[in-house]
C-alpha cells in the first residue's frame, strides 16, 4: 500500500516537473501579449533607493517626482546621461588636481607654490562640486527596472563609489583642518594627499571598470 502511494506521488512529481519545463500559454495571455503591463517598482532595490523611492520612500511622502512610473524611467535615463558626462569632467579635473596637489606637497619651489596654490584650491571647489552633483544625479535618480546580485560592471561601480565618495567627502575637511591646525599641519596634509590619491585612483579604476567590464 505504501509503495503504491509512493508511486503515485512520484508520478505526480514527475508530471509536474515536465509541465513546468514546457511552454503553456493561455489564450488570454496570447491575445493580450501586446498589451503593455503595469510597470511597478523593481524587486531587490538597493537600500538607499528604497529609502528615497520605495513605496513608503521620502520622495513619495513629500510628493516629489513625476506622476507616472514611465516618466520616472525617462527622468532616470536623463539623470544618468548627465551623471556620465559629469563623471568624465570630474575625472579630468581630479587628474589635474592630483598632479598639482602632489607637486605642491612634494616641492620646495616657492614660485610654483605661489602660482599654483590658489589654482589648486579653486579646482578643489570645482571638482568637489562636480563630483557631488554627479553623485547626486545617481543617488537621487528614480529606480531602474531591474536589480540583481550578479557581479558585473555596475556592481563594481557601486563598490568603488563607496571608496571614492568617502575620500572625496574627507578631502576638503582635511585641507581646511590642516590650514587651521598648525601643530598637526603635516599629519593632516599627509591624510589630505592620501584621500586625494584614493579618490583619483578609485575613480579612474571605476571608469575603466564600467567601460571595459561586462
Amino acid at each position: 500500500m505504501l509503495s503504491k502511494t509512493k508511486l503515485i506521488l512520484l508520478t505526480i512529481f514527475l508530471l509536474s516537473s515536465t509541465i513546468k519545463a514546457q511552454s503553456v500559454v493561455t489564450q488570454e495571455a496570447y491575445d493580450n501579449r501586446f498589451t503593455p503591463p503595469e510597470i511597478g517598482l523593481p524587486d531587490n532595490m538597493p537600500y538607499i533607493k528604497s529609502i528615497i523611492w520605495g513605496k513608503e520612500g521620502v520622495f513619495r511622502k513629500l510628493d516629489i517626482g513625476p506622476d507616472t512610473r514611465i516618466e520616472e524611467l525617462k527622468l532616470r535615463r536623463e539623470m544618468l546621461k548627465h551623471h556620465q558626462w559629469i563623471g568624465i569632467l570630474t575625472l579630468a579635473g581630479l587628474a589635474y588636481q592630483y598632479d598639482v596637489g602632489k607637486k605642491l606637497y612634494d616641492g620646495n619651489d616657492s614660485d610654483y607654490w605661489d602660482k599654483h596654490y590658489d589654482r589648486h584650491k579653486a579646482m578643489g571647489y570645482f571638482t568637489y562640486a562636480t563630483y557631488m552633483t554627479g553623485a547626486s544625479l545617481s543617488i537621487f535618480a528614480p529606480p531602474a527596472r531591474k536589480y540583481d546580485n550578479n557581479f558585473s560592471s555596475i556592481k563594481f561601480h557601486r563598490t568603488m563609489a563607496i571608496l571614492h565618495f568617502s575620500a572625496m567627502m574627507a578631502q576638503p575637511f582635511l585641507a581646511k583642518a590642516a590650514v587651521k591646525d598648525g601643530k598637526r599641519y603635516n599629519d593632516l596634509m599627509d591624510a589630505h594627499l592620501k584621500a586625494g590619491t584614493v579618490a583619483f585612483f578609485a575613480l579612474s579604476l571605476d571608469a575603466l571598470g564600467i567601460t571595459f567590464f561586462k
Partner: protein
C-alpha cells in the same frame, strides 16, 4: 492526401533566444528562455510548417541588471512588451530552409527572411538560426557609454527544442 502538421510543445529548459550587443569597449549577450506562442510542424514537408512566437522583452538577462534596464528603456517595453515573429511562408533553397515572416519589435513590423535548420531526433525537433537586425530599422535609439554608441547591428540567435 494532405500532410498534417502537429503542434510542437516548446521545451523551455533547453530552448533560448539571445541577442549579441556590441560596443567598442565590450560585447555582451542577453538571453531569454521565455519563448511563448505556437509552432506547427509538418514532419513530412517542413515548408508547410508555421510559427507564431513571442518573447517578453523584460525576460532578457545579460547578467547586468543596469544594462538590462537601459535596454528596456531604449526599446520602451512599457509600450511594446514583447518581440514577436509570425511566419508567412517557408521556402527551401539548396538544402537550406528559410522562414519568411513578420518581426514585430519596438512597435515596428518588418518582413524578414530567416535561414533555419530543422533537426529531428526521435520525438524532438531542434530549430536553430542566427541572423542580424539593425536597431535603426526598428527606430531604437542606441544607448551610449562614455559618449560612444553601441553598434547598430545586433545578432539574434534562436535555439528551439520542441516535443512533437
Amino acid at each position: 492526401m494532405f500532410a498534417q502538421g502537429v503542434s510542437v510543445t516548446i521545451d523551455l529548459e533547453e530552448s533560448f533566444i539571445s541577442y549579441d550587443g556590441k560596443h567598442p569597449a565590450h560585447n555582451w549577450t542577453g538571453i531569454s528562455k521565455e519563448i511563448k506562442g505556437s509552432f506547427i510542424f509538418d514532419q513530412s514537408d517542413p515548408i508547410l510548417s508555421s510559427v507564431d512566437l513571442y518573447v517578453p522583452v523584460f525576460s532578457f538577462d545579460s547578467k547586468n541588471s543596469n544594462r538590462d534596464s537601459n535596454m528596456l528603456d531604449v526599446i520602451e517595453d512599457y509600450f511594446y512588451p514583447v518581440v514577436s515573429f509570425s511566419s508567412s511562408s517557408i521556402t527551401k533553397k539548396e538544402n537550406q530552409y528559410y522562414i519568411n515572416g513578420i518581426l514585430f519589435f519596438h512597435g515596428i513590423k518588418k518582413e524578414i527572411m530567416i535561414p533555419v535548420n530543422f533537426n529531428i531526433d526521435n520525438q524532438k525537433i531542434i530549430v536553430d538560426t542566427s541572423f542580424s537586425i539593425s536597431l535603426s530599422d526598428y527606430k531604437i535609439k542606441r544607448p551610449s557609454l562614455l559618449t560612444i554608441k553601441m553598434k547598430n547591428d545586433v545578432t539574434i540567435k534562436f535555439y528551439l527544442v520542441g516535443l512533437i
